[in-house]
């Protein structure tokens, strides 16, 4: 049973990937466009806009998340050096 569960879990992880919102959004988008094709011949326009919206929202969510240990070394060292500088500045100029 554990083997079957692991097997399905692997394939779901493989297809869905890091952000399940992308998979859900893509499926929803295709459904919406499918429905729209019955109403208008310009339904094609919904796909490019919708798909880029899905990407933008996913990127926004990732960027809003707290910094992870996987942050690029250059950024991590810049942030830590900068924070030290800010603390020293505040200590020297209390307002």
């Amino acid at each position: 049973m554990t083997y079957i569960k692991s097997f399905f879990s692997f394939w779901i992880d493989f297809i869905v990937g890091d952000d399940w919102h992308i998979a859900a959004g893509a499926a929803l988008m295709l459904l919406l466009v499918s429905a729209a094709t019955y109403v208008t011949s310009a339904a094609w326009a919904l796909l490019p806009i919708g798909v880029m919206l899905i990407l933008a929202l996913s990127l926004r969510r990732a960027a809003s998340a707290p910094p992870s240990p996987a942050l690029a070394p250059a950024v991590r060292s810049t942030l830590s050096l900068s924070t030290d500088s800010a603390v020293r500045t505040r200590r020297d100029n209390p307002q």
Binding site: G17, D18, M52, I54, L59, A62, T78, S82, A86
Partner: protein, 260 residues
């Protein structure tokens, strides 16, 4: 004829780039395992994984051809769209500094340290640990390539603009090239612009995912196949704008701390 050549070119290039990126990642694992354990078992693991992947393509390729074309387009289009967006997302986050760039040298060192076996303890018989690591590394990295080869190839076959074997040729060329490079260099291919390649492949997969998925659900694209060019320009433009916005955000966070 021009449409057919363009279609085949896109097919081969997409399969080639996707395969090259995944094989560079697999090469790092194979090199580390081979150096730290035993080459014979490692190479048997690699060969077994490649055989399993080829078998998967050989079995699933013809099976996909049995699916009605509209359903095939929806399934394939959805999968390509999901994979493409995932690859685009990751490559944009890495390029903007939100995620660390993949460091093949660091991964190589990590796997080397983790699997190191002292020379005195290495035996000439089968090293199942080395076999398993090499098999898993190549098989898992190759699975995404198989998906891309099958989905691209199957749709191209339905459109009479290519086929699964043609897509497999692109992937095969990449495997040969990366293997030769690995044999020459004998270390992880750290200088390959993996993230840029992933960005390009992500954009192509997203474009074709939208195009074929859209066709599958009844969309009539203006200009038919010419719409693909418009879509790829749109995807690249949006992705580059997102990348710049994220980069500016990353830098401004650092700058804000400095200014305070």
């Amino acid at each position: 004829m021009a449409d057919l050549n363009t279609g085949i070119a896109f097919l081969v290039i997409s399969s080639f780039l996707a395969s090259a990126v995944e094989m560079v990642e697999a090469l790092t694992i194979v090199l580390a395992v081979g150096v730290s354990r035993q080459w014979r078992s490692t190479l048997i693991g690699v060969a077994t994984a490649l055989f399993a992947l080829v078998a998967l393509v050989a079995v699933l390729g013809p099976a996909l051809a049995l699916i009605p074309i509209e359903a095939l387009r929806v399934i394939v289009g959805s999968l390509l769209l999901i994979f493409g967006l995932q690859w685009l997302r990751k490559s944009i986050l890495r390029a903007s500094g939100q995620l660390a760039q993949r460091d093949e040298a660091a991964i190589y060192t990590g796997v080397l340290a983790q699997s190191w076996l002292p020379t005195a303890k290495r035996k000439p018989s089968m090293d199942w640990y080395a076999f398993t690591l090499a098999f898993k590394g190549v098989f898992l990295e190759g699975l995404e390539v198989v998906f891309i080869v099958l989905t691209f190839g199957a749709n191209a076959a339905a459109d009479n603009s290519g086929s699964v074997p043609v897509a497999a040729v692109g992937a095969g060329l990449a495997i040969v090239l990366v293997t030769l490079a690995g044999l020459l260099v004998r270390q992880p291919l750290s200088r390959v612009p993996e993230n840029t390649m992933k960005f390009a492949v992500g954009a192509m997969l997203t474009t074709f995912g939208m195009f074929w998925g859209g066709e599958g659900v009844g969309v009539v694209w203006p200009g038919q196949d010419v719409a693909i060019l418009g879509l790829v320009v749109w995807v690249l433009a949006c992705a580059l704008v997102s990348l710049n916005l994220l980069r500016n955000r990353t830098h401004s966070l650092g700058l804000r701390f400095v200014r305070e």
